[in-house]
Amino acid sequence: MVAASAAPATARHTDETALHRARVRARLISTALMTLLSAFVAMVFFFPILWWMLASIKTTPEILKAPPSIINFEATLRSIRVVLFNWDPNTSNIRQEGVGAGTFYSIPYLRDSAIIGIGSTLFVLVLSTPAAYALSRFRIRRKKDLTFWILSQRMLPVAAVAFPLNVMFRELGLIDTYRGLILIHAAINAPLAVLLMLSFMDEVPRDLDDAAMVDGASRFRAFLGIVFHYLRGGLMATGVLCFVFSFSEFLLTLVLTQGGIRTVPVASSTFTSSFQNEYGYMAALGTASTLPIFLFILLVQRHLVRGLTLGAVK
């Protein structure tokens, strides 16, 4: 009504102002409703994670309460102490080093997962970046078929290769070795890494390599220059995704180890739920292992869709 009082307005002017305000109000209300609904949906998906994180600082009776309490609960650091520091003043038999089920001290599992995850990620990046370069820059006969073949390896059912690989690993003495698992995790991630790096590589203009080569650089030098100058972001995003998938891999790691190496997924599969005390430990292990991953993935969020579709959707 400010406009109306400031100047004697015609009836038509007032009508338009009112209409405009009604529209603005309606839009505001609908946006508010959409926001509320979005917040609700996001909370539904976030709730299990929140609950799991809280369970790692709850006492067992608190974990076993339905409905679960979000704010008012009895907190304890017991699970975190046992899982991360192998220290529990109340129980004597928890302090046991080594392998075997029922050991909740989880630093060894996290270490195994980290070694295999980082090792396989570096390995697969070194393998795949040149391949992506070749697919992007060279004229290769039947390139489309080759690309599709690499893609089709992403669709390979793990259950179909588990047993032959188990036999092969036993013959080669690779069971329970970091190098064997690093090789396998790299092989699983290779299609993702090649196609994703290809998608990043295609965005770097070809003129840049040509210019480098005119200046006297060899083809290989030009390739290295492109990778280290223009593809750092792409390498980062590809690396994070490969690490996440390696960190989650379960079936192949399960059948290619016999207890000597236990990654987080394998370890969490052997935590039995016969003792309800273990829920807190499982929650603490889950929280400790997923928090860093959450940070990494949010860092490369911008490239996530491209990564999940192997470069098909940008």
């Binding site: 390139k143 690499i150 992403r154 179909a160 588990a162 499982m282 999940l308």
Partner: protein
């Protein structure tokens, strides 16, 4: 004069013999070949894809003899056994139900949530970031998590469903006669992978040109008409890709079943990949396990190839550069 000069250049060119190549030069020619760049990855993929295939084919004509303690040739017996293996036939049906239901639900939920987030709510970036998190939790940990949430005595999900009268006390999500067991292994799957559809479809929606929608709005098309006649057809390529990836990953489903139900109660959650795993690693039917592995492989190859052809999903279908 001029011609004489040219001739002398020609003669010099004819007389030219390249100097023997140094090691460095040989190496640098090698570094110019695409083969050098692409070979390592192909070697690793062959190691993962081809050796196991050859091994499985060979192994499918043998079986482990418990008495002799070694592999014995059995001819086509393993393949004949496949024809009347009711448990595996059941596993195919269960897998089909699992894959089909999860795919439809994830797609329907995913596109609804993507539409919601695309309608311009405040803080949409925050909601999107929260939705990303489920995808990166290792599936085994997800299974553990939902195992507790779905516990019949104190699980929050069970409690909620009981209150809402969706399930009864004597038929819990996990356990009982297993009436809801397949649903129970699908719940973590849907929680974890609905965001996959949300992200891809949301990215697709944001990239759509706005003109067709505006034109339709001017022509007086309703919201529902605009969605079904404009948004959905334009999103088709993204939908095709998202469904393809979920389809192949759902066919591989193993982790949730392994941890939550071990295929039970009875064979209610007995999926194909779990069956192959059991034969190869638990009941020591190595030859027959290889047969099942090959069947699973053929399923995956056939389905994804048919799918790619039918929906024309392609990496670089449109440009000739690849």
């Amino acid at each position: 004069m001029a011609t004489g000069q040219v001739e002398s250049v020609d003669q010099r060119l004819l007389a030219y013999r390249p100097a023997p190549r140094t090691l460095g030069q040989t190496l640098s020619t090698f570094l110019d070949r695409p083969f050098f760049y692409i070979f390592p990855v192909i070697a690793v993929l062959l190691f993962l894809g081809v050796y196991p295939f050859v091994y499985n084919v060979r192994n499918s004509f043998r079986e482990f003899d418990v008495v002799k303690g070694q592999m014995e040739s059995v001819g086509w017996a393993n393949w004949e056994r496949l024809l009347h293996d009711d448990r595996f036939h059941g596993a195919i049906l269960t897998t089909a139900r699992y894959v089909g239901t999860a795919l439809v639900l994830e797609f329907a939920l995913g596109i609804s949530i993507a539409l919601l987030l695309n309608s311009g709510p405040w803080l949409s970036g925050l909601w999107q970031s929260l939705l990303i998190l489920p995808m990166v939790v290792p599936p085994t940990i997800t299974a553990r998590m939902f195992g507790i949430l779905m516990n019949s005595e104190f699980g929050a999900i069970s409690w909620l469903l009981l209150k809402l009268d969706v399930i009864e006390k004597q038929e819990p999500l996990l356990g009982g006669t297993g009436k809801h067991a397949l649903t129970a292994v699908m719940i973590p799957e849907i929680w974890q992978w609905t965001p996959f559809f949300v992200l891809i479809l949301l990215a697709g929606m944001k990239a759509l040109p706005t003109e067709p929608l505006e034109a339709a709005m001017v022509d007086g098309a309703s919201t529902i008409q605009r969605f079904f006649h404009i948004t959905l057809p334009m999103l088709r390529p993204m939908i095709a890709v998202a469904v393809l990836f979920r389809l192949v990953d759902l066919l591989k489903a193993f982790d949730y079943v392994y941890i939550l139900t071990s295929g039970g109660p009875g064979t209610r959650t007995w999926l194909m990949s779990f069956d192959a795993y059991q034969r190869s690693f638990t009941t020591i039917e190595w030859g027959y396990g290889s047969v099942l592995a090959l069947v699973i492989l053929v399923f995956a190859i056939l389905l994804s190839n048919i799918y790619v052809r039918v929906f024309n999903v392609g990496w670089g279908n449109d440009d000739g550069s690849r």
